[in-house]
Subunit: 398 residues, 2 copies
């Protein structure tokens, strides 16, 4: 019966995270599993007022079909935001998407034939893997270290794999929390330009820096027009609205727009106008500063709790922003099994395996620190550390 | 340089309609080109109140990520609406999509390998053609007449073309306005069941019947689970919200859900909750009845104006609902050329060509009657009739 489905369905899996998230609806569970922003920080009142303005001033337009490229004033606004990040662009260079996830789908569609190679960090964002799998892509992993991907490894990979594009999350990467240094961004860009390699730069977390110094996006270096830059309001305003944007050269953007028409005609007119009205009527910079501060505090609590309670042999990244850190367990620990034990202790994380595009690693876990209170983080890491200590004992026994 | 793009981009074209729509923003133009509902009938006040309820009662949840399957209470509601149409289903059978356009994209993705055949009415909805083209589908046309597709033609087509599915719009078809009779639905279903052929039943307009007797959906006959039924709130509440739904058997729906995760994670949480709150807090049946009445009146004005002013040799369909009728011009008239002349007279329609999946016809036009006032319809058809009369004279001269 399975043969009734297209080939691409052979590889595409349901997201483990989305399956895990169903469990987290039990209130007594402390979850570090999801990638959810802190809901108590959402600007609910401001969104309510923005919606009032939108519907009372131009309600019919907000409920009508709109252009596939997006609501023009919002394109202007996202262009201005992108320029503030160092990207040379105008409203014409912007395509508004139904969240950055849609951007991944669109980019895959315009570039990937079955069997084509995508270069990724390894591990990388699992729903990007999932998305490119629907185009029957194969993956090649760029070696990484604590400063992100290693540009020197690229020429050999590019020559051997002939990739259609490189997918990277340079700021506070999902899942590792690692940031690509400015120098590496420069090297990466130079190599990509030399080979004509497209870079898909996914930047959902860039505004969430709570420590260290901000690094300009790769797109800011893009004199050749080879970088497609993705961003979103999901982590700074609200993910439930499904509004993101991309910046790309005209030829690429035109293809993406045509494909977007076929995907969903356009992004919700109402949501786009709400976002625009919110951004023009409120002090979003202050709002984002407040999120940054809160996530920085939560990260500090998690880092301190890990340092205090985790058994020897475990290590973790030290992100300067974003929502995640990445734990490496000692050899012999399998985090897929660990998760069952954690669940019994009512604490949740995501096993690292699904984040690998190649050679799945089983001794990793991703911890999210944006969606639990500081008390929950303290308590949850304590529980997790006990589970880890037991797992180490178990591993020694075996 | 074009070779940098995937093969599927060779065939996918920008929608002519979306290009034409850009012109219609000039206010003096009377447009029968778009597929837009009447914005003056949108329930703006009610949506505003519904939004107020959603954001004040459960604002954080409305702004947070949600399940890919959709907001549970809205799935319940759409299941109830589907049951009212004769479809045996529960909330579990429903997948909420970012408008029905996304349903087309998802269905194409799970079924179509490059070169696979899709059976369609010919002409058919042009963005469905566009969507299946992104999967590199080929098309085979089912012969049609004034009662819709002719089931007797199916067995030979199915045996020859081995289609992955049949795409049909049985109610007030886009672009022709034609409705598939109950008897033909039964025959179509029996043949499809015999061959195990999946039917993709797209029903955006079924609630907009202003004349004649309602016909149950094909899905109501679906004892075998071979029909995927699509509907939407775009034509009955508001298209700008991008909320649709589909009903499908479990195996298919699970695949569609996985693919939806990769496309946009989920449909806007806020929009889904607004729709739910609107549907439970307002009398939407009365609202839709009002739309039906208004579209019936507009259709009557258009039909009368056509009868009164169009030159000999032109004929048109007589839809009992929906938003479109379809004009057949005499041999020798090319509606692509006619459109330029119409534009000069500040009246717009869509040339029929792009609605054909095979053997493009150049003597057809689609007229929309939902998005112009009765005065505009009267005036616009008068202008169009003059343009047509000139075209006939021109055709005779050549």
């Amino acid at each position: 019966m399975n043969s009734q489905f297209a080939r691409r369905m052979d590889d595409v899996r349901a997201s483990t995270i989305r399956e895990i998230l169903k469990v987290t609806e039990q209130p007594e569970i402390i979850s570090f599993a999801g990638g959810l922003p802190a809901p108590e920080l959402f600007p609910v009142e401001e969104i309510l007022r923005a919606t009032g303005r939108v519907l009372s001033e131009d309600g019919a337009a907000a409920l009508q079909y709109g252009p596939s490229e997006g609501f023009s004033p919002l394109r202007e606004r996202f262009a201005a935001d992108s320029r503030q990040r160092g990207i040379d662009c105008t409203a014409d260079d912007i395509l508004i998407t139904t969240g950055s996830q849609q951007s991944l789908d669109l980019v895959g569609k315009i570039f990937l034939n079955p069997g084509d190679c995508v270069l990724t960090e390894n591990p990388t964002y699992l729903a990007a893997i999932q998305s490119f799998q629907t185009c029957e892509a194969r993956f090649a992993a760029v070696p990484t270290d604590k400063d992100g991907l290693i540009p020197e490894a690229l020429p050999a990979l590019i020559e051997r794999e002939k990739p259609r594009f490189l997918y990277t999350i340079p700021n506070f990467q999902n899942p590792t929390g690692v940031t690509l240094t400015a120098q590496r961004r420069q090297s990466l860009y130079s190599i990509a330009a030399r080979y004509g390699l497209i870079i898909l730069e996914d930047d959902p977390y860039g505004c969430l820096r709570y420590a260290g110094t901000s690094v300009p996006p790769i797109k800011a270096l893009d004199s050749e027009g080879i970088v497609i830059y993705l961003s979103t309001i999901s982590k700074t305003i609200a993910p439930g609205l499904r509004v993101g944007w991309l910046v790309a050269n005209e030829q690429i953007r035109r293809k993406l727009t045509i494909v977007k028409q076929a995907c969903d005609l356009h992004t919700s007119s109402l949501d786009q106008r709400i976002v625009y009205s919110y951004l023009t009527g409120c002090d979003n910079d202050a709002h984002v500063a407040m999120i940054r501060k809160s996530y920085g505090e939560r990260h500090a609590v998690m880092a301190a709790a890990l340092a205090e309670t985790m058994p020897e042999g475990f290590s973790w990244t030290n992100p300067e922003g974003g929502m995640f850190l990445w734990v490496t367990c000692p050899e012999g620990v399998n985090t897929n099994e660990l998760m069952q034990q954690a669940l019994a202790r009512k604490v949740l994380f995501v096993p690292g395996q699904d984040f690998f595009s190649n050679d799945p690693g089983i001794r990793y876990m991703r911890l999210n620190f944006s969606n639990a209170s500081m008390e929950q983080i303290q308590e949850g890491i304590g529980r997790l550390a006990e589970v880890c200590a037991n797992a180490v004992l178990e591993a020694i026994r075996c």
